[in-house]
Point group: C2
Chain length 208, copies 2
């Protein structure tokens, strides 16, 4: 399965959640069929790209009829393993970490933060949004034998690599990294970075 | 200039800030020369890709000698228009918006949030991290004639498109969108989306 998964370019996989998001919105508006042209228009991509992306996973929809929105949504959820709740652990309960704990958008989309860790003694033991903050020192105790395989890192940049190494040793398989550093980790661990500065710097290129 | 800028693929531009980030880290560690191989290793990309990306902007470094870190940093900052401070306005001062106002990583990297807007009467007039929250209703008054061209949107999904339309009319040129919707805007306005759910959904594909 691992090999098969890696045959499809990651850039294709990264577009599927965007299709999913748009299709959910389309469904809420009461539409049950959508053409690749229409979907493409709303997403600022080409219809060819959408058809090509989806063709990696077999046939969806008939030429000229458009996609059945509900069926395509179900298929995309299947492909992305979203027909279950993925539990995640949060590391770093500062301003951003607390904002993520408060964020209501995770649970409806298949994710739930079930544990939170910090090394600030003033935070450890405190309950935030129903979750008791634990010491990072105790991470291995509760997490390594658990089913939690996703970590969200919002610790300061200087602490991120060492923490990530521990997370990998502990058995985490996916890391969403908000710390402004590039983590060097084994290939089999998926790492995605969210750094608003990098995005702003890219946009600055286009400003004059 | 606009045409010239658009000749280089956006995916190349989006990697330059990552090179910049890593080079800053390398410089802090006291290194003054770095090979494309070494830079590539730390970033999980190929040396060929780095050389190809940089070749879009002329020659850097001599074959076999590696890059002069300081010079490459300066060149990348020049290319990305980062030799100045870019002012930004924040829209939505909820948990995430407040975390962004508190974030110290912007100013050292060339960005400063100079205004914040919300439509919650309990927030309007309140000072947060030295910035007085203004009503979104008053946005046009203060912003349209100003030099602020970057907007950061952290309003709820349902409000984002209407707000973005107003921002475009007002003269904003770049939007960093945290609302979980795809905004449909004129091509000349740069939009980048940050949505942790989309990133987590992509990673879920690789989890079994």
């Amino acid at each position: 399965m691992a090999n098969q998964k890696n045959e499809i370019p990651e850039i294709v996989i990264s577009r599927l959640p965007i299709y999913l998001q748009k299709l959910n919105q389309v469904l809420k508006e009461g539409k049950t069929l959508i053409s690749s042209q229409e979907l493409a228009y709303h997403l600022g991509v080409t219809a060819t790209q959408i058809r090509k992306d989806l063709s990696n996973f077999g046939g969806f929809g008939k030429q000229g009829l458009g996609y059945n929105v509900v069926k395509l949504l179900e298929s995309l959820r299947d492909i992305l393993n979203l027909n279950r709740i993925w539990k995640a652990a949060l590391f770093g309960v500062g301003n951003l970490g607390q904002a993520l704990l408060s964020y209501k958008g995770f649970s409806s989309k298949g994710f739930e933060i079930v544990a939170a860790f910090d090394n600030d003694p003033q935070l450890v033991g405190k309950e935030i949004k129903g979750i008791t903050v634990q010491s990072v020192d105790d991470m291995e105790k509760g997490m390594c034998a658990s089913e939690v395989k996703i970590a969200i890192i919002t610790v300061p940049a200087g602490q991120a690599q060492a923490l990530a190494n521990r997370l990998v040793d502990c058995g985490f398989k996916a890391i969403l990294n908000y710390a402004p550093v590039t983590l060097v980790l084994p290939e089999e661990v998926k790492v995605s970075n969210i750094d608003p500065v990098l995005v702003l710097q890219k946009m600055a290129y286009y400003l004059d």
